[in-house]
Symmetry: none
Subunit: 214 residues, 4 copies
DNA sequence: TATGAATGAGAATTCATTCAT
DNA sequence: GATGAATGAATTCTCATTCAT
């Protein structure tokens, strides 16, 4: 989990290096378990330099939050989903959902270290939670609602479920898959991941109940 | 999140007080964000007293892990699930799953502070992960596999899904519901929770795909 | 170095046990490196019990000093030296000195743990130094002066040396032998000790200069 | 005992100050009786600064040991003894030994605080003992053996004594003189020291036995 | 008397932050 | 701007001593 890349944000080289190092180590040891000295060493700068770019250690965390929101807002929300919607035209719903979920998974995967840091700290700080809620959860949910609405119109999915419950269920399953792979890599070999994704999507679409029996 | 109750473990009054305080504050601020001074104050003992019961601060965490595993092993695994299996006889599968999930949710809810502490730290420590995997995940999965097998035999559920994928999906949805309620209580009022549970179970059982269309 | 025996002092069983344990551990780890808890455990009493017999930890040290002085004063000073003086009558000076030194060595050896503790702490505390000086060094030196005077009278030893310088030289050599054996037991096997004592006495008596050459 | 001077070792100013303060206070109160706070105050630095230079308090002690060995190895062993050997050519053995012993005494005196600290702690720690044995005792003994061999060849000293026994006897007497002066300065006025040294050397060379009588 | 749990003052150590160079 | 030595407040942990039982 070391390949954090913040180059698309317009940061000075040092600031970027510091942020990337901080994300990487925060992700490994947690915010409070990480020292500014470690960050400096990994970033290849002097400890004092950190405090030229970030007034306090806490500011590094805030900065990660801000950048995470920026990255997600720009990438996730807008761009590729619209495209997907177009691509979805005339396609099988399974094919579409599969693509959507895999797409989101790869995005989340690429941002995983930042997300892990921010989500863990969100646990302890109301402000972070609110920022995430307002800037990520709500827009993402709105987007999904829109997409789901289209699918309902086309008769592809049930119309008796609120889109936000469906959304949460999908998010929960994606998160679950990612956590499994991250926390227990040895128990979840890569070759199994694809099958798991397929089956998880299958469950979400079809449910686990035996058809025709009921 | 203050209603931790460890009275069923046979601990001395002080040890119990210290553990309860530690769980409560660790849960709020994280292990590294909590000082032994805070724990002592909340427990109403001298700071030195903590170290009569726990050699190091880290030992408090280990003790929480051990007790969590003991509590879950004893309660969850054995007792109530067997009962549920009997109760399930001749009942509607939906009714049964609903009961099962609600039962597990209330258990997890009651252990939530401990779980939160341990899961957060599991993120950083391999040993904790392994302990959880071996003592909770594997046994719980085995149990579910057993239960699921019975349901397959009765023709209540699909026989083309590996039980562990189903298990993970259910766990993910339960976890998601609990996290929502805990992290964003203001956005998820209690009266909605019941409906959400119902619909989540509905999705797991039926899927989101429109029947008859396919 | 565990066979401290204070039974000849009239102490209650517990007090004796505590003192013996304290001497043994102080001797191994030093006064400041020893905890009252360790002493209690080794003595087989509760930690609180120590403070019934000794107001403070420091009092244990003082007590050791007092007992050491008592033991040395009674045993060394009076008793056996007088006897030796009698035995010395008409004997070879070498035989006598050999017996004297071996006798003193075995005494010092038996009191070694106490001595080590007290001498080490004497390094840090003026009062201890003064107590040792007044109660041990001065009387012992007086005694030796007396003995040496007799030997001078009999023409057995040189009459141009102050007895206290001779005394110190003998003490230094005895102390040296004991320290070697204690600190580097592996480098000073027991079978060598006897030869070393013989030769050390030989040096003190004869010197290292080649006779007849000068 | 405050005139420790470590300037010949190439240490940063602060490191030197800290070491000198530590030696001085360790020497007065012992390692365990000294707090890092005291050392910092005496050195005129913040307590935290100590730990920039020494990972732990124990490391200060190790550092003292290392520097002591370095100082003794460089100074004692090589340089001045070789010179002495040359100076000794054609000189009276008494004059030579006198010079040698006085020379060693002044060296030991100048290193006395370090030596005291290290020797006291050697009492408790095997590793320190071994380091001293290997790096100081063995080389010094070898050196003396060499020197003594030369004196034997020239017929200046007895050839029936093992050099290491002679060596230990001399060391014991030097150590004794220094300890007397240090522990009981009021009982051993400076003007006596010279006479004592002379007579101690006299004893070592000539022994205490009356000549011609035997 | 004896106990040992509890205490709290004090010790070593850490680390975010500052600031002179 | 960048550095990294220095700081000292805060933190974990120790231990002699007390005291209720």
């Amino acid at each position: 989990m070391d390949e954090i890349d913040l180059s698309e944000l317009n940061l000075s080289e040092k600031e970027q290096k510091i942020l990337e190092s901080a994300i990487s180590i925060f992700s490994d040891k947690g915010y409070n378990g990480t020292t500014t000295n470690e960050i400096a060493k990994k970033a290849g700068v002097a400890e004092g330099t950190i405090f030229r770019y970030f007034k306090t250690k806490k500011d590094i965390l805030s900065s990660i939050l801000v950048h995470l929101i920026a990255l997600i807002s720009s990438k996730i929300a807008l761009h590729s989903v619209e495209e997907l919607a177009k691509e979805a035209e005339g396609r099988d719903i399974r094919w579409f959902l599969n693509k959507l979920i895999r797409d989101r998974m790869s995005l989340v995967n690429s941002l995983f270290p930042m997300l892990r840091v921010v989500l863990t700290e969100a646990t302890y700080h109301e402000e972070i939670r609110e920022a995430l809620y307002k800037n990520i959860i709500v827009p993402a949910n709105n987007l999904f609602t829109h997409l789901y609405g289209l699918m309902v119109e086309k008769g592809q999915v049930r119309d008796d479920l609120p889109s936000d419950v469906v959304f949460k269920s999908i998010v929960a399953n994606i998160a679950s898959l990612i956590f499994q792979k991250t926390l227990f890599p040895e128990h979840f070999p890569d070759e199994d991941t694809d099958k798991q994704i397929d089956m998880t999507i299958n469950i979400i679409l079809t449910g686990i109940e035996k058809k025709g029996v009921k």
